[in-house]
Amino acid sequence: MSILAEPLVQRMLLVGLLVGMAAPIVGTYLVQRRMALLGDGVGHVALAGVAAGWLAGSAAGFAQRDVLAVPGAVIFAIAGAVVIERMRAKGEAADVVMAILFYGGIATGVLLIGMAGGSNANLLGYLFGSISTVTWIDVWITAGLALAIVGIGLGLKSALFAVTHDQEFARSTGLPVGALNLVVAVLAAVTITVAMRVVGVLLVSALMILPVAIAQHLTRSFSRTMYLAMGIGTVLTLAGVSITLTQNLQPGALIVVLGVVAYVATTAVTGLLRRGRPAS
């Protein structure tokens, strides 16, 4: 148990817990809206934001050049998510826009980080996660953002369900559909920048979507899917981080692989159980 007394271990587990709990909330709304890949498009834009923050930091002559990386990621991610939401609302092909954000985000990030005098190696931590370098300030920022996601995501659950389930009906009731759609987009952007630290931009979507996909095998209620996904996300991140304390493995990648294994296992088990029962 002495390993738990290590401040770094405490920080890693805390960040893992917060992100694992918060990410599936937004994931549930995105799956509900059939936009499971939004996290990827926005994540890549966030990477350009990281590099832009880095560039701004070195231009301003800060000693720590990456101090503006996370604020940059938040701003870029929110802008990207809002653009995708606007396109979707207008009925444009959101998948093409997302594809362009994918390439544009990565390419801009690589160019900007070079201009800032950094190397692509500096970007790797953001691409694949760098939970083992979290500071206490990171923990507090993550905690603040994660609690905001949980508070808004659960507090507005009924209204966000209504809007993501049947937008036309929601409009007919007088709900502020446009504003609620923006809430989902901004929550997604914030979740992505928070989760970027743990699993990296390339795998950020997995942490939002996999727990929801697993939970859908186990319950048919929207609310229970969300709560169960929060629990599954928490267990996955804590398990992944714990294993990497003793094994030399990449935490972000391990969390995602554990999630995929859990998904395949629940698919197989629920499939077998269903076969034993007559179809309803």
């Binding site: 549930t28 799956v31 509900q32 809206r33 059939r34 499971a36 009925g91 507090g155 507005l156 009924s158 209204a159 369900f161 209504a162 993501t164 389930h165 049947d166 937008q167 036309e168 009906f169 929601a170 409009r171 007919s172 009731t173 007088g174 709900l175 502020p176 929801v212 859908q216 048919r220 209620s221 929207f222 609310s223 899917t225 309803s280």
Partner: protein, 267 residues
Amino acid sequence: MTAVSPADAAPAPGLAVEARDVRVSLQGTEILHGVSLSAAPGEVVAIMGGNGSGKSTFVRAIVGAIPHDQGMISIFGKDATPDARRLIGYVPQRVSAAGGVTATAHEVVASGMLGYRTLRPPRGTAERVKEALDSLSVGDLARRDVSRLSGGQQQRILIARALVRKPELLILDEPMAGVDLQSQVALAHALGHLKEDGVSIVIVLHELGALTRLIDRAVVLEHGCVTHVGEPPHDLGVHALPGHDHEHAHEDPAQSTRGTLGLEGPR
């Protein structure tokens, strides 16, 4: 077209819904070329017409699901703002009722309790949901996954979602399409009770079917224009044909507009 009341005149008082000279464009193409309709409290008005006549677009514009370019829509004498839509219960076509995450019938119906400045379910939501499901004889489906129910059961869940609002104006878009006979009878029964309670009903229909006795008046659309207002046509298949010379058709298009303005009053 010279309408009796210009579209910018004040809405007529005493009508549950009034739409005047409504124009709607979707993706740059004008779908509705100035259509009008009205329903008095307790009146049941059918909107009929063939595929592509614009009848669904019309009701979507009335409930505010899509914006209209021109014209006036009022609900109980007030401009159809989000606040005024409190009084509307809308039953969309069943196709729009599926998301990527499953949801129970209870959750779907409960979402009908929300609205303008009501972002969280108010107290008593659970009882109201149960009541609405029971009124359509689907109380036993409350915990079931909506996406796995039959077409008729899903339709009744969507109607329950509208009824849970205790609407004074119920607007249904093709509620009988792909619905089993048992559900059709349950629906006709429920609508009859609502009419007796003074609820106004606007219903998009392909054919009159089980609802014939309930309909007070029909508005027939063709290519985004009103071609008939009055007695429901009995054989819509013929009426819906483009260019068909309707036996009840008004000679003067302005007159057909007058009919839809509710100047005839309820029967």
